[in-house]
């Protein structure tokens, strides 16, 4: 099953770094950093989807990546104050996908 193969670490590292920049830019509420994070995580999701969603593992990865994107969206377009703790948690979820 192609969906079960390991993800390229480099791509995930880029996504993690982009989230880190968005978190670091919290005082400036820098939308560009969040935008970059969305692009990078979306690219990871595309990579997973491209290699198939037939296996339970691939579907779990996609679920996790969608959850990460939901939380980044919450930081990027918050309903009230940005939920930084949740964004940090989402970063952790993404890091676990790497494992």
């Amino acid at each position: 099953m192609r969906g079960a193969r390991s993800l390229p670490n480099e791509r995930i590292e880029r996504a993690l770094a982009a989230i880190d920049r968005a978190i670091a830019a919290a005082p400036e509420r820098d939308g560009a950093s969040f935008s970059q994070a969305v692009q990078e995580v979306s690219a990871v999701r595309d990579e997973v989807a491209t290699h198939g969603r037939a296996t339970p593992e691939a579907r779990r990865r996609l679920d996790t990546l969608n959850a990460v994107l939901s939380m980044i969206l919450a930081g990027h377009f918050p309903l009230g104050a940005p939920p930084w703790d949740e964004v940090r948690k989402a970063r952790g979820w993404l890091a676990e996908v790497q494992l």
Binding site: A26, G31, S70, L73
Partner: protein, 864 residues
């Protein structure tokens, strides 16, 4: 919508359109009503014929202005300065309807000690958090209370008050008041301080409207209000499409509350909706943050993990909204039927939970970033109608698929081969991977169903003829799409698919086309009992135990019996009748034509005057009676007072003289403690792009909590940027309907307004040596367009202090499809949002104008 909701209790027009003819003064502002709502405008004309004063406050002199007794020109985006000036004028000259406002509003309520207004707090209200760009609302509360927001989607903000916050403080006592109005912390005194600097002279400096004209407007309003006379405000998107749009409407609600112009004949605020059934689409919403008829969408980041938590967090303890659990559980029963049980929280976990802002603007940016993969476009044309058209096209080009349903080709459906970015060479069809589906849609006469108009009036219309070929109604499409999805996922074991599996999706199908019966849908919207499937007569019969189902509680009563569809009713009043036309269609809630009509009687239940009577208390019968369905418990006597020793909940906490039953204490809110994200009172901030500095609060140019999403391609202009010295605004034309396509593709309507144009004043034309039909280039940091000039005295230059500011305007309805074409005005706008509803700004930005043509291919193609 949150403005009317927060102020009065419901996010909708407070009156019926025909009630405008009973007004003694009609102020039209943020609307060109004569041209864009001509059917409704006839009631204004009738009012004028009967002696009413008609006022038009608008940057342009339009056909509405021509019909008005007074035209007050103001600079686009300065509305709050103008309205704030009226508030000050009423207060300082003691022109307000004291008995009404004291009895029915929160003008005497005492606010928390920590409250500060922007005059005393560096241009912002107390509670502002610079780091997050948001407000905490603790200091805006009634002293010692936590007031639940009447605006469902904003109640969630109160999670910030802590896990034990349950609004029980509202059951302990009335909010503290000072009926002498002497307490410096009472709303009256706060209001006076807040608007002290909104003098006629300041109004003139900020708005450009001569002080003398402003005072004529203020005095006409005051003169036509009180026991014997009433006035109304009419507005449209000229008020809403601003970074302070909600607060502009709020300012009008304050004026009307002070003048006693709510709930009475010829009084109120008429929210003129911008499209057919826009009111209906907010009631049974296409909005991301609400469930049908104003129930808040659950949010993953709030205490909404279970149905019990959600209801505990979101249900106010006092007022009508205490019934919310009945409406929520009945909705879940309508959606999930036998799969909704008490054991599984009535299917609550099937409902998706929000995390962030999913309104159109963030979704567009998320498309550009690759997060969004597919899009259905039904009933809209975003390449023309949404701001930053180039950004929209970039987003569409990143999708994997897009479905457009319309009855003619649109700029949105053709973006991949004909859009501006294609013409300019920035995109090419061979590099766009979006798979396009264009599906033919039935036209209005080719389907039956309802339209909910601007006055909450739900009117049924029958199909005239079948749609040709493969054209189908939206109902047909949605039903069969849902049916196929249910079939596809019938065997799925994934938890996320369980909602689709549980969804009730059974409607009578008619004819060979298998068209769902829309009356079946309306029956479900009305609600029924689960045990015997009998229609309920109204929302007062709904239960929170799973014994009733209801698709939209506000509409309950519209189909009270199996074969009684009240939206079909067409019985007008006879001449000289009560003018409620209660037999004409159905107005939610409960077929009321005038909301808050308990306020048409004095606290003792007597009409304020014979001339302005609507409903009154019949002591002998022990009930409310009159010319409308009472917006009040029909047998609650005026003298009823809550027994606070019993900790009353729900309607028991609302007195017999408290007309605004959706509010937690039954009073309309001049000062809003909860429910708005940008302040308890309207304050003048400049638009996010303005050619001038803010004279009112010099340290804050624009709304400090406005949503700005600056990025390449979506840059904003700095304050008073000399590169973009002019104010730019957009509007509709009588001759071009909706997003342009319905009129532009028809030769006989296209020829009425055959080409795009920009209106400029003679003064500005002289500066540039322009005459009508000369080409001009309009530019912002988002893009450039070319358009022919129409030099007209309808536009004027504004004198602001020692400076002249020019305003230019352009219809936004043109595109490249059809017979009537022109560059898309929305290319010029940035994607931004107001803090409450994320509505974009289209009525006041800055731009540049120069004579000539664009050099790139797009201009050449248009020239040919």
């Amino acid at each position: 919508m949150p403005s009317l909701g927060a102020s009065y209790g419901r996010g909708s027009a407070t009156m019926s359109l025909w009630d405008l003819e009973s007004s003694d003064c009609v102020v039209i502002m943020g609307s060109n009503m004569a041209e864009n709502h001509p059917v409704a405008f006839r009631f204004v004309v009738e009012a004028q014929r009967r002696g009413a004063t008609v006022i038009h406050v608008d940057p342009r002199f339009t056909r509405t202005s021509a019909m008005a007794d007074i035209h007050a020109p103001i600079r686009a985006g300065s509305d709050i300065a103008f309205l704030g000036g009226i508030i000050r004028h009423l207060l300082e000259n003691d022109l307000w309807f004291r008995e009404y406002a004291l009895a029915y509003s929160n003008i005497a309520h005492i606010i928390e000690d920590g409250y500060l207004g922007p005059d005393d707090n560096d241009g912002v209200f107390s509670g502002f958090d610079e780091a997050t760009g948001t407000y905490e609302t603790e200091t805006w509360q009634y002293k010692g209370k936590v007031v639940p927001s009447v605006v469902g989607e904003h109640r969630v903000a109160h999670a910030e008050h802590g896990p034990d916050d349950d609004f029980e403080s509202m059951t302990e006592s009335r909010p503290p008041v000072d009926m002498t109005l002497a307490d410096p912390r009472c709303v009256y005194q706060i209001l006076r301080r807040h608007y002290a600097r909104y003098t006629p002279e300041m109004v003139e400096q900020i708005t450009g409207c001569p002080a003398e004209t402003f005072l004529r407007v203020a005095d006409a309003l005051a003169r036509n209000s009180g026991r014997e006379r009433t006035g109304a405000f009419c507005y449209a998107v000229g008020w809403t499409h601003h970074s302070v749009g909600v607060q502009i409407i709020r300012a009008a609600t304050i004026i009307q509350s002070l003048l006693g112009n709510v709930g009475r004949p010829g009084s109120g605020i008429m929210a003129l909706r911008g499209h057919v059934s826009i009111q209906g689409s907010t009631d049974i919403p296409t909005l991301y943050n609400m469930l049908p008829t104003y129930l808040p969408q659950p949010n993953a980041l709030n205490r909404h993990a279970t149905l019990a938590e959600y209801l505990h967090t979101e249900t106010p303890t006092t007022g009508w909204w205490a019934n919310m659990p009945k409406y929520m559980v009945s909705l879940l029963k309508a959606w999930y039927g036998e799969h909704a049980t008490a054991e599984n929280e009535f299917g609550y976990q099937h409902i998706p939970k929000l995390t962030g802002d999913l309104s159109y603007e963030p979704i567009t940016l998320s498309m550009v970033d690759g997060m969004v993969k597919g899009m259905f476009v039904l009933g809209q044309n975003p390449v023309v109608g949404a701001v930053n058209s180039d950004m929209v096209v970039r987003g569409l080009s990143k999708l994997k698929w897009m479905v457009v349903r319309d009855f003619a080709m649109t700029e949105t459906a053709n973006f991949w081969k004909d859009s501006r970015l294609i013409q300019r060479g920035e995109l090419s069809p061979d590099r766009i991977g979006t798979e396009m589906f264009f599906l033919p849609a039935a036209m209005p006469g080719e389907k039956d169903g309802t339209v909910t108009n601007t006055a909450r009036l739900v009117q049924w219309h029958d199909m005239v003829c079948e749609a040709p070929g493969e054209s189908r109604s939206d109902l047909w499409f949605i039903y069969h799409l849902g049916r196929r999805l249910k079939e596809l996922y019938a065997d799925s074991a994934e938890a996320r698919d369980s909602g689709l599996q549980a969804l009730t999706w059974s409607y009578t199908l008619r004819g060979e086309r298998q068209e769902p019966d829309p009356e079946d849908v309306l029956r479900e919207i009305n609600g029924y009992t689960i045990a015997d499937h009998v229609q309920v007569s109204g929302f007062t019969e709904l239960k929170d135990d799973g014994s009733t189902a209801c698709g939209a509680w506000c509409y309950s009563g519209i189909f009270p019996e199996a074969n009684t569809n009240l939206s079909r009713s067409r019985r007008p009043d006879r001449p000289g009748g009560p003018n409620s036309h209660a037999g004409w269609a159905y107005a939610w809630p409960s077929n009321r034509r005038t909301l808050y009509n308990r306020a048409s009687a004095d606290p003792e239940g007597r009409p304020w005057s014979e001339r302005k009577k609507k409903i009154w208390w019949d002591e002998a019968a022990g009930k409310w009676t009159g010319y409308d369905v009472p917006d009040f418990p029909v047998d609650k006597a005026p003298g009823y007072r809550p027994d606070w020793s019993t900790r009353p909940h729900g309607m028991d906490a609302i007195g017999g003289a408290d007309p605004f039953i959706m509010e937690a204490d039954g009073r309309c809110m001049i000062f809003v403690p909860s429910g708005l994200k940008d302040g308890p009172l309207p304050a003048h901030y400049e638009p996010v792009e303005s050619p001038v500095k803010n004279l009112m609060y010099r340290s804050r140019s624009y709304n400090p909590v406005a949503k700005l999403w600056t990025r390449p391609g979506n840059e904003m202009h700095p304050e008073a940027d000399p590169r973009f010295p002019h104010i730019f605004t957009t509007y509709r034309l009588t001759e071009i309907h909706c997003g342009g396509i319905p009129s532009r593709v028809m030769p006989h309507t296209a020829e009425l307004q055959p080409e795009g144009f920009v209106e400029i004043s003679p003064e500005l034309a002289a500066e540039h040596g322009l005459k009508s039909l000369d080409w001009t280039v309009l530019s912002t940091l988002r893009g450039e367009i070319e358009v022919k000039a129409m030099v007209t005295e309808r536009m004027r230059a504004f004198r602001l202090g020692d400076r002249t500011v020019h305003q230019i305007g352009m219809p936004w309805l043109y595109g490249h499809e059809g017979y009537a074409t022109g560059d898309i005005a929305n290319v010029l706008f940035a994607i931004s949002g107001d803090p409450n509803v994320s509505i974009h700004t289209t009525k006041a930005i800055t731009c540049n104008l120069r004579p000539g043509r664009l050099a790139h291919a797009g201009g050449e193609i248009l020239a040919q």
